[in-house]
Assembly symmetry: C2
Homo-oligomer: 352 residues x 2
């Protein structure tokens, strides 16, 4: 029998291969695989039939975290891990311009973990849920042979007219991003460096003043505040997703799904000063980290040029470029005006 | 720091400890942790507010399967595993008297698995979805350090008036179960015995004529047909769940949540002839297997005595006892009239 290594396809290739030809049969399924969330219309019962409500939609997203792949418990506190595992799901709901409402939490737990460990993990999940107003409504808890597995599924709601998909970017739209990019990645580099050194006292010294980098990696927040600001300003993005795999990779998703190209500017990328300083110290190119680092959980979206005046008034929001014709491709304009094609070098779960 | 082994609490103790004091904050959450599914009312938008629809409900359930704990790939074909992983979720939706509509599929995949392996697994999930009319709407696919992890979350719908919870059993209600019990467990015993012998030719001989036992273990079905028969007969159960951990354990859940006791009769338990024969051959007590075996995915439910005449006309449905006052406890009446207290010896995920 033939044996094809999954690494030859990568995560997105595998997903395409497995789900590329899926055709929904349920009338309630409006959007299946291919965006930050699935979108359902569960309608209401009229007589014996379920009718579309034409207004309210249910969103669904899911995320799995595996020990040794997504996290290293040598430096990730269990409470932070639980918090992050919940928040990354909320981030996907916000990335559709929805509101997260319920989660289920599946845990696979090896004998290495005590009740106190799992309570710490769960306390983090619960804290995130409290902060974002989300209910834990179920889950499955079981033993595992090795390591810790966390699989969370999140539901959310949105009005039909508010939902923002990945495929709505139009020619000349502005490309915006919240917060800053590459910081979570630099936090990870710092944690990994000190782990290899293995000296706790030295690590404490190294971490001093860099708490923000660590927080971005260990305890990210979902940008609900940005959506609120956009709503207040009367701006609805044309396309949106959250930055989990890296800016380049996400931007290329928006462009390919919208059938457009893009142009972003190196000198417009929002970069944190501490992250840049650490990158220099570690001989890393901070722009590469910003483009491909991943785990920022910032919002990346496109807006009509008409919204420019409103956008520039919103705090912690940065216009980094614009949408072009598809034949232009996806490009970065460097500080000296040079043009570089973007590459989806984002985190590849099946890389070697 | 204190270290309490999780095995001292067991799965249900752990769940209670982690989620016992959860209080939903979302108005859409009607039922959280504690039944086969969570129940949500996403309502509809009226002006700027979300109003209850008073009729349609969304159900949510989730299940995680871990290699080495829930399945052994030495004898479980990947396609069957995918099928089963989906069906056990559908079974939970049916156990609320709902209809499954969408699933998300999370896979953690180690390097041991090829693309062809994962395609076989996914083909099983897809086949189950086709048969039950369910859409795959998302998922997360990532590498794992060791082994295969499958985490599926399922949504379903039900009219409010149709939903059956675990807590509605009333004094004198009849206790019913579909199909037969202990068969999936005997299928597992057979597979395990031949695995240990390790002789493929001998295994083929041993399996001959026992295909039904293997199918019950490897490729169970959810009892949608029983719900249809009940609907046609005009019977609505008062309490219901599916038998995944074993009859005793499930019945004790219904009784404790309904605040009642129960009495079931050994000679009424539906037992497959082949399963009984194999149990005898393997020196196992088939009644113990039926009570505690688990993974039958049959429906266990209670009905008003008034429905007796209707129930006895339904094929593959068995009345095994009745609901008593709580002070009676949960008891089995043996073939010689002896009374035995039921024990929740069902499969304990954290047992040693």
């Amino acid at each position: 029998m033939q044996r094809t290594e999954i690494s030859t396809l990568g995560e997105f290739g595998l997903i395409k291969r497995l789900t590329g030809d899926l055709k929904p049969v349920q009338p309630s399924t409006l959007k299946g695989v291919g965006d930050d969330c699935a979108v359902m219309d569960f309608g209401k019962v009229q007589g014996d039939k379920v009718q579309s409500t034409k207004d309210l939609r249910v969103l669904m997203t899911t995320d799995m975290l595996l020990e040794g792949i997504h996290f290293n418990l040598e430096y990730v506190p269990l409470k932070h891990l639980g918090y992050k595992a919940a928040v990354v799901n909320f981030s996907d709901i916000y990335a559709m311009n929805g509101t997260p409402t319920q989660i289920t939490v599946n845990l696979g737990i090896s004998k290495r973990f005590s009740l106190e460990d799992i309570e710490a993990l769960y306390a983090g999940v619960r804290l995130a849920c409290e902060r974002y107003g989300v209910d834990i409504v179920g889950g499955d808890t079981c033993a595992s042979m090795t390591g810790l597995t966390i699989s969370i599924t999140c539901l959310g709601v949105a009005k039909e007219k508010d939902i923002v998909y990945r495929n709505g970017a139009k020619l000349n739209d502005l490309i915006c991003v919240s917060g800053n990019l590459g910081t979570a990645y630099m936090g990870l580099q710092l944690l990994e460096r000190e782990r290899i050194v293995g000296d706790d006292k030295k690590a404490q010294d190294a971490f001093e003043g860099k708490e923000y980098l660590l927080e971005r990696q260990l305890k990210p927040e979902a940008r609900r505040d940005i959506l609120e600001a956009l709503r207040k300003a009367g701006v609805k993005p044309t396309a949106m997703m959250d930055v989990s795999d890296g800016l380049s990779s996400e931007l290329m998703h928006i462009c390919s799904q919208s059938g457009v190209g893009c142009c972003i500017y190196e000198d417009k990328l929002p970069i944190d000063y501490e992250a840049a300083a650490l990158a220099e110290e570690m001989n890393l190119n901070i722009v590469t980290c910003a483009l491909n680092g991943g785990e920022d959980y910032e919002l990346l979206f496109t807006c009509s040029l008409d919204d420019y005046e409103k956008l520039i008034l919103i705090e912690d929001l940065y216009i980094i470029g614009h949408i072009t014709k598809p034949e232009y491709g996806c490009n970065l304009i460097g500080r000296n005006g040079e043009e570089l094609a973007l590459k989806a070098q984002g985190w590849n779960a099946f890389g070697s």
